[in-house]
Point group: C2
Chain length 198, copies 2
């Protein structure tokens, strides 16, 4: 414990009161999956739809966060672990503020994701965007798989670094046979079931 003179201060406003005011529960939809599996597209589309319904929602996205909070981190296993730890803590703060936060990170290591589950408890919902590698590689919208195959990127998840699938995600979604609208439909069904206040 580095911080021995620290006490925890309680907010006067409980998360439950925030949720009541917002008309929905708060929590974390933790999207995990390969590059080009559809995480970012689905996350931002889901955010838009929920916003239009009047919900409090916000996307934390791998690409975006790495320009700011985690700009000091690279892609080694240790840096990926610290990246995911910080995102988990931030996502928890957003959820405590009443927000349904959607995170879109490859987050390839089971232990890193499980640590977030430990941090966030019941707020954490693991959503495996389970599009198979061959489909992701065929899509390759940023040309990253090509670069990784040619050895121009080191430690690329699925090619030269592992992806550890979740054992028991709250939701699993393989987008390979689905339109974006169909994928969103599945997600909205889950959100309605878990976060709607009846």
């Amino acid at each position: 414990m580095r911080s021995s003179n620290i006490r925890y201060t309680e907010h006067f406003v409980a998360t439950a009161d925030r949720c009541q005011a917002n008309g929905h529960r708060s929590g974390i939809l933790w999207f995990t999956g390969l590059s080009a599996s559809g995480k970012t597209t689905l996350a931002f589309e889901l955010e838009r739809i929920l916003f239009q319904k009047g919900w409090r929602t916000f996307v934390l996205d791998g690409d975006n966060v790495r320009h700011g909070l985690c700009a000091d981190l690279g892609f080694s296993a240790a840096d990926r672990a610290e990246n995911i730890r910080r995102i988990g803590e931030v996502a928890k703060l957003f959820a405590e503020s009443g927000c349904l936060v959607i995170t879109a990170f490859i987050s390839p290591y089971r232990a890193d994701r499980d640590r977030v589950r430990t941090i966030a408890g019941d707020l954490f919902h693991e959503v495996h965007i389970a599009t198979p590698l061959e489909v992701c590689e065929r899509r390759d919208p940023k040309g990253l798989y090509g670069k990784a195959r040619r050895g121009e990127i080191e430690g690329f998840t699925g090619i030269s670094a592992p992806y550890e699938s979740p054992d028991a995600p709250e939701l699993q979604l393989d987008t390979s046979g689905l339109t974006v609208a169909e994928g969103l439909g599945r997600l909205l069904e889950y959100v309605d079931l878990k976060f709607n206040i009846g």
Copy 2:
């Protein structure tokens, strides 16, 4: 640049649209001041009042964040700098989500605060809780000044580590002659002026 294969993704929902939906502007009220100056008390009371008015608001508090996001950091100048950098990035994310976020950190170094101003731009409002050292030391609700004077805490701001006052804070509030209600009154006046959507 550690992250050369990263592109910035734009949200489909603009911050301005979020503010319109919330009925108020978003931003960061960055409280800075000595230990026991009144930062945390005022921050949590302000949060409660704004929540009751239906505003989106959330406190990031030094004591709380150091249990989570910054649990790996101590109180050296370098660790304080990294602590403030991370909080600045998180506060910016909250502001981008439409929230009026209130941060309550000693944040003693001018350069660290100015870096947050650079990160967050117009969203950043520096609020100097300018209660003098002798008043803070007399209050000493956690007995920390006593410990610092006895040499039981190293690098304690105001005693054995510097506090660099802001040169041109957006708001300055010395709580020594004020009740909590009076201090809140000043803050609410400022919030109304800057964040109310007319």
